[in-house]
């Protein structure tokens, strides 16, 4: 097992390097010169050249890449062209917001998705199964940002029950702590701030969770249908166990393996969706920061953020693989596998 984990980590290294090359190539080779955008159209050629020199853009590409890589390895992702603050620091300060949103979203998606999937599998071809199927289909077909807009229009515009943007009332914002507002406010015992933070996270988390919820529902349904037709389920029923007990203890437990994998992989893809959700809800996370930086051609930020998200994505996939290997006793990772 340990050997397998080490092997997977070693295999991830070239992928990570490759991701850094792809990111670098896109931002430095395919893109136009950022100097006129950052300095404005009226800047003199001399000023632009000076700026390029100062930002290392006149160096040969290969030198630029190794500078970028060496920096990234030591946690230095360069400076923003505009604010001159270190990109690493900017990303880290926004990281908890994005992770908090993604975690709440995946919890919503997993709970509702698994429950809906189980119900529609155990009540196959019933109206509730049909409803779950339609919900799952609409969930994967609806743009995340449009769902966000609809939620804002309804809950903030029509009902006035939930805030439409931001993370917390600025007056209630916890100082210091972990940066995870739900956790910080709870630890400080400030329930007013906690409920404010919770009310802010509901809509974006719901919008973000929709796609994953649909995928998890479909996966749970098909996985459950498979285990429900197994011999051991029939045996359990034949010996007179209650239906609910068979459904949960025999069928669902065995169906959980692929479901867990899907839930894990969805957590990774939530990070991609976070850009759109954060933009709709003005959620101060990495996603919104990247989008804002793209619109301003702030390349070091974009480069650093894409790299960071890529790394997280790879790490999550790695963890999911390892958990899968751990959960399934049938899988033994010998030399030719993995």
């Amino acid at each position: 097992m340990l050997k397998y984990i080490v092997k997977r980590i070693l295999l991830a290294i070239p992928v990570l390097l490759g991701v850094s090359v792809i990111v670098f190539l896109i931002m430095r080779v395919f893109s136009a010169d950022p100097a006129p955008v950052v300095l404005g159209q009226h800047a003199t050629a001399e000023a632009m050249n000076q700026w390029r020199e100062a930002n290392g853009l006149n160096d040969p590409l290969i030198v630029q890449y190794f500078n970028f890589l060496a920096g990234a390895l030591t946690g230095n992702l360069g400076e923003s062209y505009y604010t001159h603050t270190p990109v690493t620091q900017e990303l880290l300060s926004r990281f908890p917001a994005t992770v908090e949103l993604a975690l709440v979203a995946i919890i919503i998606a997993a709970v509702i998705g698994v429950v809906l999937g189980v119900i529609s599998a155990t009540h196959k071809n019933s109206p509730i199964d049909g409803l779950a199927t339609i919900l799952a289909l609409v969930g994967v077909s609806m743009p995340i940002f449009w769902l966000g807009v609809l939620l804002i229009i309804f809950f903030a515009g029509v009902l006035h029950v939930l805030p439409s943007s931001g993370r917390i009332d600025p007056l209630l914002q916890p100082v210091g702590g972990t940066g995870f507002y739900l956790l910080d406010t709870l630890l400080m015992g400030d329930f007013e701030a906690f409920s404010d933070a919770a009310s802010h996270i509901i809509l974006p988390a719901l919008a973000l969770s929709m796609y994953s919820m649909a995928v998890i529902t479909r996966m749970t349904r098909s996985s459950m249908l498979e285990t429900l037709s197994e011999d051991y389920v029939r045996t359990a029923r034949a010996k007179g166990l209650k239906k609910r007990r068979v459904d949960i203890h025999h069928a669902l437990r065995n169906a959980m393996l692929p479901i867990t994998t899907v839930i894990g992989l969805q957590l990774g893809s939530l990070l991609g969706g976070a850009m759109l959700t954060e933009t709709v809800f003005a959620w101060p996370g990495i996603g919104k920061y990247v989008v804002d930086s793209i619109l301003k051609s702030d390349f070091p930020v974009v480069q650093g953020a894409v790299l960071l998200i890529g790394v997280i994505f790879i790490v999550i996939n790695l963890v999911v693989d390892v958990i899968y290997a751990y959960l399934d006793p049938r899988i033994t990772y010998t030399k030719e596998e993995g």
């Binding site: 490759g18 994967v140 743009p143 804002i152 990247v290």
Partner: protein, 320 residues
Amino acid sequence: MAAATLSADADNARTPQTDPTTPGGPKNAPTSNAEKSESLWKDVWYSLRQNIPAMVSLFVILALVIVAIVTFVAPGVLPYDPYQQDLSASFQPPSAEHWFGTDQQGRDIFCRVLIGSQISITVGLLSVAISLVIGVTIGAIAGYKGGRIDTVIMRIMDMMLAIPSILLAIAFMAALGRGIDKAIIAIGFVSIPEYARIVRSQVLAVRQSDYVAAARVIGDSDAVIIFRHVLPNVTPSIIVRATLGISSAILDAAALGFLGLGVQPPAAEWGDMLGRGRNYIFAAPFAMIFPGLAITVTVLAFNLLGDGIRDAFDPKARKR
């Protein structure tokens, strides 16, 4: 899927015998091959026709394509000029005159949603065409050649898959600049690995089969084997993947438009219309509701059609 593959397998297994260079091959074999493959597509079409959601979706898609073509060829059929600004008429709510209301520039949203189909359909089809051609080719090469070529190609694909596709597309757009042509390239490019993986895994399975060995024995070149014997077997999976791929391409294009990385004004694109309406979300919700509805209906139609085609190719689902 199994029936499709089996039936196609049978066709291909016979191909070496029917080769004109092989003496003694049954003369009527080519006709029987053609009949066989025709009957596969007939079967698929028959079972697709029984699938009501898929047929409704096909109808919706055809209607959209017709709308896109008609509004492109004869924009005069639209009740209003979708580009004509009239600031005195901005943000009029839906009425008998303006079914979907007007946007901030006083343009009729219904007309803009209609011509928005041009861009969505174009992006969907062209970007899938890009990823399909490149993905299938390199997937087939990787699977068929194996060894080091396979390792290198698939590692590059892994690297691309390691970045969420929408993020990669956004990074591309940031670098290339706005424009629908660039969106097509960006979206097409980021989906290449999905096709490459599907084709590679199927080619790996087919490569070991007897009829491929037979083709090699009679001296067919690698290219002939890949394109005549191997790829036809992979076609069903590719068709399903491509239909579903169009829906995700339309979603991605809308996301780029929404973030302000899509079309140049005054072009009408559904995601872009949504993004522009954002500042007036409470004053004019209709400016965002209708373009979003258009995206959802279109994507849903392609998803349902893709599911339907997959079931139609699957003999187990067909019998149900």
